[in-house]
Structures are given as structure tokens and as C-alpha cells.
């Protein structure tokens, strides 16, 4: 595939790793924010090519992982209703709530459909006027323009049977939460490429200055990640803390203006609870008042007092913040596996725990 295969060139990858090795003189701890980047790293094994002085910490860039338990339980409640068609991206289906997940709700008779795009959910609402179609809008800023357009379109078409359950989270507040944490050891960030394709990277400039931490906006292919890491290590070695853009083929400083405009028309910023971390102020999107008719939390307001209970042995919060690695959890691979996940970092295939498990890291020590 064009503009993908070239960035998977085995030879160039080895050479780029060698370049990183040649400039690394000190120990550095860097974090890749985005779950998709974690996925590539663990799937291709490029971290095995890095010099020992570099520690990669996997960040909280997994919107599925950080969706609060109460939100999942609300989704399951709504999905159980006979007059509801519940639509979602595939990632969310296996995430466990306090007692069940969307698969088991399906087994109990719930009408649950996977969609590729939020516009497919809007189409379903058009085709099924007698049903309430609810879309589970989970994601970072990357997905916000798509979700915004779906609500916007539903309003234009007068589709009163369409609503969204919104659990959008923002990346910069999460990065600041990591940097503000007393446990923080992160010295530089591999910033999320597709989030920045939408939002640009202007908003990171003050953060880099405030915390004196360099950041490189990076893509998702192995060569992108290695080039991004190279640029980041170079900054660290030279004592710089700037924002650089490795993913220049898809990202500009101001991002996608039409997308940002639509996001601002439909969403406003509010406080959000992050699973495993807690409430981070001004860290999420919620629907503006004029879209109340399409806000599932208002349409289904009777579900607002759901009590949720987290597993006590799960340390996904510490894993999400990069304080612990998955295999350092007592339950990893035993009570907690992708089939029997205790927390979201094991359920979502982007979660650090699932990525580690699926790509057999914990076994390779014993293989």
C-alpha cells in the first residue's frame, strides 16, 4: 500500500535504529502517548532494536482503556433496552462493565451493531424510525470531528431517534496529568500523530516550555516511530525542548481547521473522569446544550445514578500512567487475560496489558 509499505522497510528500520544508537549517550525515559503507536511498537518489536539506555513508557493514549466504568455500565443499560439499536466501534464490545459486557448483552437479546463510521449509525437511524439508535462516541480528538458530523447531520435531518453517548477525552490534559504526577519519570513525548492531524500542535508549545519537555509529533509506522524517537533523543541529548513534527506528510501546525470548527460547533470542553486516573479538569468533550435532544445521557436520563465498582487487584491506572509495566502486576496472565480482563488495559487490544499479552512479552522471558 502506498504511503504505508515504504515506512515498513526492514533495511531502513535497522539503519534508523543504528542511528539512534549512535547518538544516545545517557539514559532517557520517553513516552509514546497513543495506543496505536504502542500497538506498532509491540507488534513489530522495534523496542527490541533500541539501545538499553532508552526506556519506552506506554502512555494513556487508549480512549477505550480510559472510558470510566460508569460510562460502560450506562452503555450496557441502554443497550439492554428492547427499543434500542446500540452501535459502537468494535473496540468497545469486549470492555467489561461492573457485571457484563456488550457481548453478553447481545446474548441476552440486545440489538448491538458494530459500525465502521459514526455516519453508518446515522443511516441506521434513518432506516429504523421506530427504534432509538444510540452511538457510543468514545475517542480522542481524532474521532471528535467524525462524531461531531454525525450529530450535526442527525440534527439537520431531524432524526430525533438518534443520540450519542459521549465519552470523548483530550490528549494535552492527560499529558499534563502525567507530567504533574509525583511519580513522573517521563522526559520527552512521542506525540500522537493523528490527534495532531486534527488539532495541530500549537497547543503543545506552551506545555513544552512550561515543563521543559521536548515533544515530537510522530506517525504510526515502524519507520515513523524510529525517526520520531531519533528526533526526540537528539533534542534530549542537546538539551532542547521544542515541538518537532516527524509526521509532516499528514500534520500541520494549525491542524485541520474545518474539523476544529465543527468540533467547536457541536462540543464544549468539560471535566472528565479517566478510568484508573481519576477526574482531570477540562479534559473531555460533551455535547453543547443545543444538541441535548441527541445526548444519550439526557435522552436516557433515568440511568444517571448507576453505581460502579472497580476490581481491587487491577493496577491499570498505574500502567496507564507509565508507573508500572503490565508484567509487574500480580494478576497479569493469571486472573487477568484478554479473555478474562479485570481492567480496560487488558480488554482493549491497544491497552498496554493486552498488547504485552497478545504479543507474548511475558512469555518470551520464559520461552
Amino acid at each position: 500500500m502506498k504511503y504505508i509499505d515504504e515506512y515498513r522497510d526492514a533495511d531502513l528500520i535497522k539503519k534508523q535504529a543504528e542511528k539512534i544508537r549512535s547518538i544516545t549517550t545517557k539514559k532517557w525515559a520517553i513516552m509514546e502517548v497513543c495506543g496505536g503507536q504502542t500497538h506498532t511498537i509491540v507488534k513489530t518489536g522495534i523496542d527490541q532494536l533500541l539501545p538499553e539506555q532508552i526506556t519506552l513508557i506506554h502512555g494513556p493514549g487508549c480512549p477505550v482503556c480510559v472510558t470510566p466504568l460508569e460510562m460502560i455500565d450506562k452503555a450496557l443499560e441502554i443497550a439492554s433496552r428492547p427499543d434500542v439499536i446500540f452501535t459502537s466501534f468494535g473496540d468497545m464490545l469486549r470492555v467489561p462493565g461492573s457485571h457484563k459486557n456488550l457481548f453478553s448483552v447481545k446474548a441476552d437479546g440486545g440489538n448491538i451493531r458494530i459500525v465502521y463510521s459514526p455516519l453508518d449509525a446515522v443511516k441506521l437511524a434513518q432506516k429504523n424510525p421506530d427504534k432509538k439508535v444510540v452511538f457510543f462516541a468514545v475517542g480522542f480528538e481524532t474521532t471528535a470531528p467524525a462524531n461531531a458530523m454525525a450529530v450535526w447531520q442527525a440534527k439537520q435531518l431531524g432524526l430525533n431517534n438518534f443520540s450519542m453517548l459521549v465519552s470523548h477525552v483530550l490528549v494535552p490534559p492527560a499529558m499534563e496529568a502525567v507530567l504533574d504526577s509525583p511519580f513522573n519519570s517521563v522526559q520527552g513525548f512521542i506525540a500522537a500523530g493523528h490527534v495532531c492531524a486534527v488539532m495541530g500542535y500549537e497547543e503543545y508549545e506552551p506545555m513544552a516550555q512550561k515543563y521543559k519537555v521536548p515533544m515530537v509529533v510522530t506517525g504510526f509506522e515502524p519507520l515513523d516511530l524510529l525517526q520520531g524517537i531519533y528526533m526526540l533523543i537528539k533534542q534530549l541529548e542537546e538539551g532542547r525542548y521544542e515541538i518537532e513534527n516527524q509526521y509532516s506528510r499528514a500534520v500541520t501546525r494549525e491542524g485541520n481547521i474545518p474539523a476544529r470548527e465543527t468540533i467547536n460547533k457541536v462540543f464544549e470542553i468539560g471535566d472528565r473522569s479517566w478510568r484508573g486516573i481519576g477526574v482531570i479538569p477540562k479534559s473531555g468533550y460533551r455535547l453543547k446544550d443545543e444538541f441535548a435532544a441527541h445526548d444519550a445521557e439526557i435522552v436516557f436520563s433515568e440511568i444517571s445514578d448507576i453505581q460502579s465498582k472497580e476490581s481491587e487487584i487491577c493496577i491499570s491506572g498505574l500502567v496507564l500512567q507509565g508507573v508500572k509495566k503490565p508484567h509487574e502486576c500480580a494478576a497479569f496472565g493469571k486472573e487477568c487475560t484478554p479473555m478474562t480482563p479485570l481492567g480496560a488495559t487488558m480488554v482493549s487490544s491497544e491497552g498496554a496489558c493486552a498488547a504485552y499479552y497478545n504479543y507474548g512479552r511475558y512469555r518470551q522471558g520464559t520461552l
Binding site: 500500500m1 504505508i4 515498513r8 526492514a10 528500520i13 535497522k14 495506543g35 496505536g36 500497538h39 509491540v42 507488534k43 513489530t44 518489536g45 522495534i46 527490541q48 532494536l49 487508549c62 480512549p63 477505550v64 452501535t87 466501534f89 468494535g90 473496540d91 464490545l93 469486549r94 457481548f103 453478553s104 447481545k106 446474548a107 441476552d108 451493531r113 458494530i114 459500525v115 465502521y116 453508518d120 441506521l124 475517542g139 474521532t143 515502524p222 487475560t337 484478554p338 479473555m339 482493549s348 487490544s349 491497544e350 499479552y357 497478545n358 504479543y359 507474548g360 512469555r363 518470551q364 520461552l367
Partner: protein, 340 residues
Amino acid sequence: MEQPNSNKKIILGHGSGGKLSAELIESLFLPAFRNEFLSPLGDQAVVNINGIRIAFTTDSYVVNPIFFPGGSIGDVAVNGTVNDLAVGGARPLYISAGLILEEGMPVDELERIVSDMKRACEYAGVQLVTGDTKVVEKGKGDKIFINTSGIGVVDADVDISPQRVRPGDKIIVNGPIGEHGIAIMSIREGLEFETEIQSDTAPLNHLVRDMLNVSKNIRWMRDPTRGGLSSSCNELAKSAQKGIILHESMIPVPEAVKAACEILGLDPLYVANEGKLLAVVPAEETDAILEAMHKNPQGKDARIIGEVVDDHHGFVLLKTTIGGSRVVDMLAGEQLPRIC
């Protein structure tokens, strides 16, 4: 006394051919029916009647949509059962078909499916000798479900079993993977996309016969259907108690399958096939077997994709194209499209 299963329900993942399916078999079916023929959990059972080894298999076909690029549920119902027999080393001879039809199903669609089954039987060289038809109320079936059973004969000099697998053996696949699963996905509602990918549904018995004519030392074969290449390799590793190494650069994946997997966030190793087989063969006989395969329409793209090793018993290791390695685990339940 509370039964442990009283609160559990069957979920779709139990039919996906991965870990959940395996668990259901181990915990429910094996304890109930355990016997020497069932326990090996092969795709077919081989029983001995008056000195003749008869292979017996059954499979149910519930694929939705019933018509897809490259075929229909009719093709898959015949070829699937023929293949289960063939990969056990049997010569497939006779099949049965039990149809469960949903009230309201258009008869011309049934006609098309029956015509596909007829053609598939002729191409495979098997005869449909008995059948049954039931109709269920509208809403209780997905237009049509088909169960086929088949019997064949395993010749005296054929011995296919995971116990024969040895370190150093090579693993062969007869062609590119992922076509059937992607062909199905391409028309699933909510995921539709256009692609020239067609299901690879095909009978493999003629190919297997050509392979067996050249070598009586083929150790093990399987057709990687639901759960894909990965599930079959994991089953092999566990049942043979050996390690498997697969080489990513050697696994043939058509460009369009790769592209569809990229878009949906799927891994081709877990995507279903309906006209593929995996074979474990002695290293020194690999060239001869591949040569024979290349002369057969179902084997023209056959190649080595890995080997058996005396290490990491029970696990499958993939060497990635960039020189890293990772363990290929068995699918947990359904493989789901993802956005992350």
C-alpha cells in the same frame, strides 16, 4: 448445589474457532462423550470397521450473508466437509446435507444454493447420498443453515497425526490467506467496501491426493477456517507439543486482503480461509511435495512459511519482517474491527 454454568450464556465468540470454542469443547462436550475417536479432537474421526479405516466428519454452515463474492453457503457447505476429510488423509466419498430453512426464504435463492452444492459435489467428486429438510418459523433462522456430514476412506499406507511431527519439519501453505474472511466482511452491513477479493472456497481433496502420491510421510494437515492460520498453528503446537516458527515475510497475503485488514484493523493471521491447507512435511521431501502441489490448480502458489522446532513447546513464534519476534496467540473470541 449450584451448577457452575447456570448463569453463563453462549456468546458469538464460542463459535469463532478460538479459545472460547476450545473451552466449550473441553468443559462441556469432551466430558460428556469422551472416547478414543473423539479425544484427538481432529477435524474428522477415523474409525475402523472390518479392517477399513473410515473417516467421518460433520460441520454446520451458518455464514451470513449466504451469497458472497466467490460463492455461497452451498459451496462452503460441500467444500468444507470435503476438506475436513481430505486433511485427515481420507478420500472423501459421500456426504449428507441437512437443511434448516427459515419460513419466508425465497425459493429461487434456495435453487441457487442447491445448484452451487451440485456443482461443488461434481468438482470434488463426491456424491450427496442422503439429506433432510426442516423449516422453522420466520425469525428463528437466518434464511438457511446447512449441516453436512461426510465419510471417506483412509488408505492403509496413510498416517496423518500430530504425533508424527518432528523438529526440523517444514510447514507449507497452498496459497494466499485471508480471502474468504475479507470477502464476507466486504458486504457486512456497516463495514461495506469494494474489493476484488473473492472467497477462496474450493475442495482440496485432489490436491491432497497429489501430495500423498509423492510422499507417505506427510505428518499433519489442517484447513485453517475460522480463527485463521494462527488458530490452526496453535492447535498443531499444542497437540504435537512442539514449537512452531512462522516467518512473516514468507506468509502470502494478497495486497487487497492486506489493505482491507489495515482499514478495519484486523490481522490476516486470524482471518478465515475456505480453500487453504497447512501441511507439515519432512524437510527433505519439501521440494518434491511443492513441485506436485504447483501442478494442481489449488496448489499453484504453495510455499514454505515456517518450521517445527524443539523449543517453546505449545507456542507459535512469528519472526517479523523487521527482525523482531512475537508470540502469535490463539484468538480469544471474535476478531473485531477496531479504530484504535
